[in-house]
């Protein structure tokens, strides 16, 4: 605690702003859902803000990400407009996907976000493919591929990691190990002690880190990004983290204890980072509090704007199936 590495005040402000924006966004949509103002389902990443924020902070303009069903954080960290995200969750024509995609399918291609994905591990080969295309075009851009512990047991994970390895593709595989694939504890789903060991099987580096330490995530991702950019191939980073909320809106939390949830709430990455930067003297307490408050206000304003957007109609919808 207290070690901020080479972080400066501007970077600290940016990281904390992103983390609070993700947190406030998800608290707000959780509330909208509870009040019956959002339909369908959603997967919240409250408690996992550090992995999305830290990893994406290591990217440069023009780099890409692929995301997951639990993707609000990745999307915000990659620079998405929260009003357009909220409009999408509200099913509005003015949303990122014109109300066709919803929470699980937000893409922001202009910002380099190749999309959230509703199929576990579905985006892992896609990330490798984008990386292959970048390589073929002689670009030095890289792709960060986010997925959860559950995805590491899908065939798509293994095929894509192997192909990324043999072709030394510029992709960073970021496993957000939040301890559960829906209800199944990750330790029951594999017979190894670290998911990062999977990288050994494919011949590239794998590392397990504290995924609730945004500085550690940023530094580790930075090394992997550098490796990818310089043509040395992929890296697998396992970020140990925890989702405070259930898997989705149907979750009764029958598979874990209140004590366990409390333990991890005490390790909340966003509050922890705020404490760290205050202790290190990078930000004063009032500034840190204002960042959190500003994020809340920003989301409130965005909700009002998003709710006023038009609803989509069925007119011409079949013509949209094809480009």
């Amino acid at each position: 605690m207290g070690d901020v590495g080479e972080l400066n005040r501007t970077e600290a402000t940016e990281l904390l702003t992103t983390m609070w924006t993700i947190r406030r966004f998800e608290e707000a949509v959780d509330d909208l859902f509870a009040r019956g103002l959002l339909h369908g389902t959603m997967h919240l990443s409250i408690g996992q803000e550090a992995s999305a924020t830290g990893a994406i902070a290591a990217l440069e303009q023009g780099d890409y990400i692929t995301s997951t069903h639990r993707g609000h954080g990745h999307c915000i960290a990659k620079g998405a407009d929260v009003t357009l995200m909220l409009a999408e969750l509200l099913g509005k024509e003015s949303g990122y996907c014109r109300g066709r995609g919803g929470s699980m399918h937000i893409a922001d291609l202009d910002a380099g976000n190749l999309g959230a994905n509703g199929i576990v591990a579905g985006s892992i080969p896609i990330a490798a493919g984008a990386a292959l295309a970048l390589r073929q075009r002689g670009s030095d851009r890289v792709v960060e591929c986010f997925f959860g512990d559950g995805a590491a047991n899908e065939g798509a994970f293994h095929e894509a990691l192997n192909m990324a390895a043999i072709w030394k593709l510029p992709v960073i595989f970021i496993c957000e190990n939040n301890h559960y694939g829906m209800s199944m504890a990750w330790t029951k789903a594999v017979a190894i002690d670290r998911l990062s060991r999977r990288a050994d099987a494919y011949g590239f580096p794998g590392v397990t880190i504290d995924g609730n330490d945004v500085i550690a995530v940023k530094e580790e991702a930075g090394r992997a990004v550098e490796r990818a950019r310089s043509g040395e191939g992929p890296t697998l980073i396992e970020c140990l983290t925890y989702r405070h909320k259930g898997h989705s809106k149907s979750d009764q939390n029958l598979y874990r204890t209140r004590e366990e949830i409390k333990q991890w709430r005490d390790k909340d990455p966003t509050q922890r980072f705020a404490r760290v930067v205050i202790e290190a003297g990078l930000l004063d307490a009032a500034t840190a509090d204002r960042i959190a408050e500003d994020a809340k206000q920003k989301i409130s304003t965005a909700i009002e704007e998003a709710r006023s957007g038009p609803d989509p109609t069925l007119v011409g919808i079949e013509d949209e199936t094809y480009a």
Binding site: Y64, C97, G115, N117, A128, A131, L132, E159, E320, Y322
Partner: protein, 329 residues
């Protein structure tokens, strides 16, 4: 007049790949054993030497990876042409094909495009048995977002593959193995009119035989035999199942008053049902002089024994017999 040359269906596919790669750097090939080996059926022979290993990319035996990597590459502007060594193996890659490639454009509100082609040798007749011989078009025909092309001759194979590679959508291009060595004239200029256009392979007045892929040459042979019996059959080559050129089919049946649909895949749930329904729901219904007839594969996996293998899918004589029965009322 453009020059006409006679080449095989496999050569026509290779010419389309070669032409697309020569004219667009974004086009590249990937698949199992497509490089030095030239593909399981030799279709990509010589392309590795011409374009190098980056653009004629041998892959591990990883169908999910192949299709998924093609999706990702297509999303950022490449035009991958991926190969499934046999169409049966598409089963391994169904998520990437049907949940990813087919849906991303719509699901992401029109912002994403997935211009990929998935080539796959399909169909029976090579003694390769149940897991290397089936016809998969009906699996895919119910997936909005995919286009499905099944050429029956060399000229269409070249034209339609060229159009498929240029298309901004995911296209499944199913090549019948029994057609690879068949020869036909190709032209230097396209004559197919692009994806989504059926062809009147032979004009006739008495019965419309609607078919695709390897059933087309069989239907044309059958039409020759029927001619000897005084029956003037029209043969419609559907060519593209998605999008389906319904009007050419409807117009033909409105003219002949009789419909025989022929396909190699099993009857139940087969695409012939879609053709039959298209006609019975259309104005052509009023012109029908006989019940619609479907002639299709039997309800089995493709068997190994050569007699059985041939017996479970429609042959020329089956088509003749079915047409005669329709005419007999």
């Amino acid at each position: 007049m453009p020059e006409a040359r006679s080449i095989t269906y496999a050569e026509a596919i290779r010419e389309a790949l070669d032409g697309a790669m020569a004219s667009d750097d974004a086009v590249f090939l990937m698949g199992e054993d497509i490089g030095v080996y030239g593909g399981a059926f030799g279709v990509t022979t010589g392309l590795l030497e011409k374009y190098g290993a980056d653009r004629v990319r041998d892959t591990p035996i990883s169908e999910v990876g192949i299709v998924g990597i093609a999706v990702g590459a297509a999303l950022v502007g490449m035009r991958p042409v991926a190969e499934m060594q046999f169409s049966d193996f598409t089963a391994n890659a169904m998520d990437q094909l049907c949940n990813q490639a087919a849906k991303l454009h719509f699901m992401y509100g029109g912002k994403a495009q997935v211009p990929l082609v998935l080539r796959a040798p399909t169909g029976s007749g090579t003694g390769a048995a149940a897991q290397h011989s089936q016809s998969i078009e009906s699996w895919l025909a119910n997936v909005p977002g995919l286009k499905i092309v099944m050429p029956s001759n060399a000229a269409d194979a070249k034209d339609l593959l060229t159009a498929a590679i240029a298309d901004p959508n995911p296209v499944v291009f199913l090549e019948h193995k029994l057609l690879y060595k068949t020869k036909g004239e190709v032209r230097t200029e396209s004559s197919s009119g692009g994806l989504g256009r059926a062809a009147v392979a032979q004009e006739g007045e008495d019965v419309s035989i609607v078919c695709w892929s390897a059933m087309v040459p069989k239907a044309l042979d059958a039409a020759g035999s029927l001619k000897d019996q005084g029956i003037d059959a029209e043969v419609i080559d559907v060519r593209t199942l998605r999008p389906l050129d319904r009007s050419t089919i409807v117009e033909s049946v409105a003219k002949t008053g009789r419909l025989l649909v022929v396909h190699e895949s099993p009857l139940t749930g087969g695409f012939g049902g879609e053709i039959a329904a298209t006609v019975t729901e259309s104005d052509a219904f009023d012109f029908l002089e006989a019940p619609v007839k479907r002639l299709a594969g039997m309800e089995t996996p493709i068997p190994y024994n050569p007699g059985l293998e041939k017996g479970v899918v429609p042959q020329e004589e089956d088509i003749v017999k079915a047409a005669v029965e329709i005419l007999a009322g």
